[in-house]
Amino acid sequence: MKRTIWTGIRATLVLTVILGVVYPLVMTGIAQVIFPHQANGSPVTASDGTIVGSSLIGQSFSDATGNPLPQYFQPRPSAAGAGYNASSSGGSNQGPESPDLIAAIAQRRTEIASFNGVLESEVPPDAVTASASGLDPDISPAYAAIQVNRVATQRDLPIDKVRSLVQQYTQGRELGYIGDSCVNVVELNLALDELAH
């Protein structure tokens, strides 16, 4: 038994070195050489070169008091911290009959409809529901579509211009059939700001 325990201790240490130190560090080195952009979180940069986020991590486009900024495309509701808090990922975890969730959805639907000047029936599901990560960078093309008019008006841009920009940042189903088509809000809003410069 004593021998088995010694073997167990040594085996644990040897495997920890191989699998817990060598493997992750070597892979980090390789990743930094061949895929530096992805390995470092797919950063997006403004035209002046500053990093303004990651194309993978959603951001809040609200003012300090939490009101949505009308010149930006709005992302989905977020349950990560106060909203898009990247150090506190997570979903609402509210069930299908949760009174809080039901009230929140109804309120969001009304607010989004009036904010964008559309009918409540035009507001798609992803606009009124929080994602699992709370950091979803994407919205559905339907949610982008109802925001085009508002953003164009706020920015004094022709509607067609904004619409074509949305098109440009819409990703179809991968390989034509995997996943859902989506619009990356972070990239789209950055492109809008860059347009102004």
């Binding site: 992805q38 979180g41 930006y72 990247a86 975890n93 299908p96 950091l135 189903r173």
Partner: protein, 557 residues
């Protein structure tokens, strides 16, 4: 049209699994049958003091499994308690004793139940050298035990079932490590991060401060999926864009989860020199998996329930890039293996969708089950199936030339009782203690009423059966739950392993009965249908009461 996406997605994964089925299955059989050691393995055996050509009785094998797991647990516990003094701890503090125990038990038991939020609890050293290492070695333990059982079936009149240390080292070095390295690279190419940068602060487009949590994610992500572990680098697990950035990495992760468990029947067939029972097992696994996937997808597409109907679709807790199908396929894979990773919040699924995830675990984790554990669990079920078929046909119950005798059927019966008895007893005791009852209802449950009961049931089943996924509104980080769920994880894992190894020893000691006339037709479609029905009827009725009071009450109410 929706169903086209549902079918093409699962077909893509299926084709990939079919392509690797034979090569990977045969390769794994070779790994555990080869008599030659690699150079690096010889060096390891020298360091740890093991003669790679000596073999162990089932008792010695079990002792080695338990000692190794115990040492791993102590080390992981110590690392968490001593976190502030470890390098790359990112300023995170020492983890409380009950949570550290729970997490150590959870990762050593291949469960990866996470009562903590990783980004605010564990630094890089604990993630890499602690949690990630257990992701590797705990699935290697599962694989080793399954292989020991297969050896028992393949041998005749033998007193030994292999050498645990050799199986452990080979499973890690020849299977899990190379596959993980390749998988990690693929994930990184898709956008999963891999760095040691810590937290970086950026000013967002709208001028706010955002703190991005970096880390060596891809290397853990690869083994998290491949080893059917499920312990995420982040709280949001595979929903987090830094873990699972795109729709195709999502399908790739599903593939990683399923690849070893689905190739295991091939390994089994190769090692016993008869692929017929292996094929029947594979067919059974596929049938159950597809049924769960179809039901989940149907319920989520249908989107019943007040909130989903008000929203116009069941998108609460789902990511836009995955959509419904990318979420339900992942959930079917994670509840059918002992994966436990999630890319959508099960808590917000429709009542019936949530019930299917729970039921899929309750089936015993055999569709296709965890790495190693899927194969040994379904072989135990096969022992029971063969016994019953033998009784029905009035023939001696014989499986692969091994008689299913009193000892074997006793062990198998004991094994199938472990999970329901432990999980339901754990739950009943918790509700029976007034203070704990109060805590459960008022603090722990994230939702009230039937949904809260489903959350609780899910937690106890998930821990005991070593899945690790959760209805995450269930705030499990309390001293009572940390200790109880930690114990359930350990008992659910190691009691079953002990029974499996005892059975391996008992089969190995038997002589082989010559097959031929009077052989039971264990490869016929009728047997597969019977086997599927048996798995369902053994598992589900035990849980019928809680299912009725939980998801049924919610969905039909």
């Amino acid at each position: 049209m929706q169903w086209v996406w549902a079918i093409t997605s699962v077909a893509t994964v299926a084709i990939a699994l079919i392509v690797v089925y034979r090569p990977l299955g045969d390769y794994m059989a070779w790994v555990f049958s080869s008599t030659k050691d690699w150079k690096v393995e010889r060096a390891i055996y020298r360091i740890i003091g093991v003669d790679s050509h000596s073999e162990q009785s089932w008792q010695a094998y079990l002792r080695a499994v338990l000692v190794f797991s115990c040492v791993g647990m102590l080390l992981l516990y110590a690392m968490q308690r001593l976190q502030p003094w470890l390098p790359y701890s990112l300023g995170l503090g020492s983890i409380s004793p009950d949570l550290a125990f729970n997490t150590a038990a959870s990762f050593v038991g291949n469960t990866n139940w996470q009562a903590y939020s990783p980004e605010s609890t564990v630094g890089y050293t604990v993630q890499m050298a602690g949690l990630s290492v257990q992701c590797f070695v705990s699935s290697a333990v599962g694989l080793a035990v399954a292989i020991a059982l297969v050896r028992g079936l393949a041998r005749k009149g033998a007193t030994t079932i292999g050498n645990f240390w050799v199986d452990l080292v080979r499973a890690n070095l020849r299977i899990l490590l190379p596959l993980s390295a390749v998988a990690a690279l693929v994930l990184i190419a898709g956008g999963t991060i891999q760095n040691l940068t810590g937290f970086t602060d950026i000013t967002t487009i709208a001028g706010q401060l955002q703190t991005l949590p970096n880390g060596p994610v891809a290397t853990q992500e690869a083994i998290k999926m491949l080893g059917t572990n499920g312990g995420g680098f982040y709280n949001a697990n595979s929903a987090h864009p830094f873990e699972n950035p795109t729709a195709w990495t999502n399908l790739f992760q599903v593939f990683l989860l399923l690849v070893i468990p689905f190739a295991s029947p091939r390994t089994f067939g190769k090692m016993v020199g008869d692929h017929r029972l292996g094929s029947a097992i594979l067919a059974t696994m596929i049938t159950l998996f597809l049924a769960a996937y179809a039901a989940l997808t149907a319920f989520e597409y249908q989107g019943l329930g007040t909130a989903p109907q008000l929203a116009g679709g069941a998108m609460e807790g789902k990511e836009v890039r995955f959509g419904i199908v990318g979420s339900t396929l992942f959930t079917a894979a994670t509840t059918g293996t002992t994966g436990g990773a999630t890319n959508s919040t099960l808590d917000s699924y429709t009542a019936m969708g949530g019930m299917v995830s729970l039921l899929h675990m309750i089936l015993g984790e055999v569709s296709p089950g965890g790495v190693g554990s899927g194969l040994y669990t379904i072989l135990i079920m096969a022992v029971i199936a063969v016994f019953i078929v033998g009784l029905l046909l009035g023939r001696t119950p014989v499986m692969l030339g091994k008689r299913i005798g009193v000892r074997e059927i006793k062990l198998a019966s004991l094994a199938i009782l472990v999970i329901p008895v432990l999980s339901l007893a754990g739950m009943a005791i918790s509700f029976a203690i007034p203070a704990i009852h109060h805590e459960l209802v008022n603090q722990v449950m994230g939702n009230s009423g039937p949904h809260g009961l489903t959350e609780t049931t899910y937690a106890f089943v998930s821990a005991t059966i070593n899945n690790g996924s959760s209805f995450a509104g269930f705030g499990a980080n309390t001293p009572w739950l940390n200790v109880v769920l930690g114990l359930l994880i350990l008992l659910g894992r190691f009691l079953v392993i002990a029974i499996v190894l005892a059975m391996a020893g008992s089969f190995a000691a038997q002589d082989q009965i010559p097959t031929g006339v009077g052989e039971l037709p264990l490869h016929s479609p009728q047997f597969v249908a019977f086997f599927v029905a048996l798995i369902i009827f053994v598992a589900v009725p035990t849980f019928f009461a809680v299912l009725a009071a939980g998801p049924f009450a919610e969905g039909l109410g």
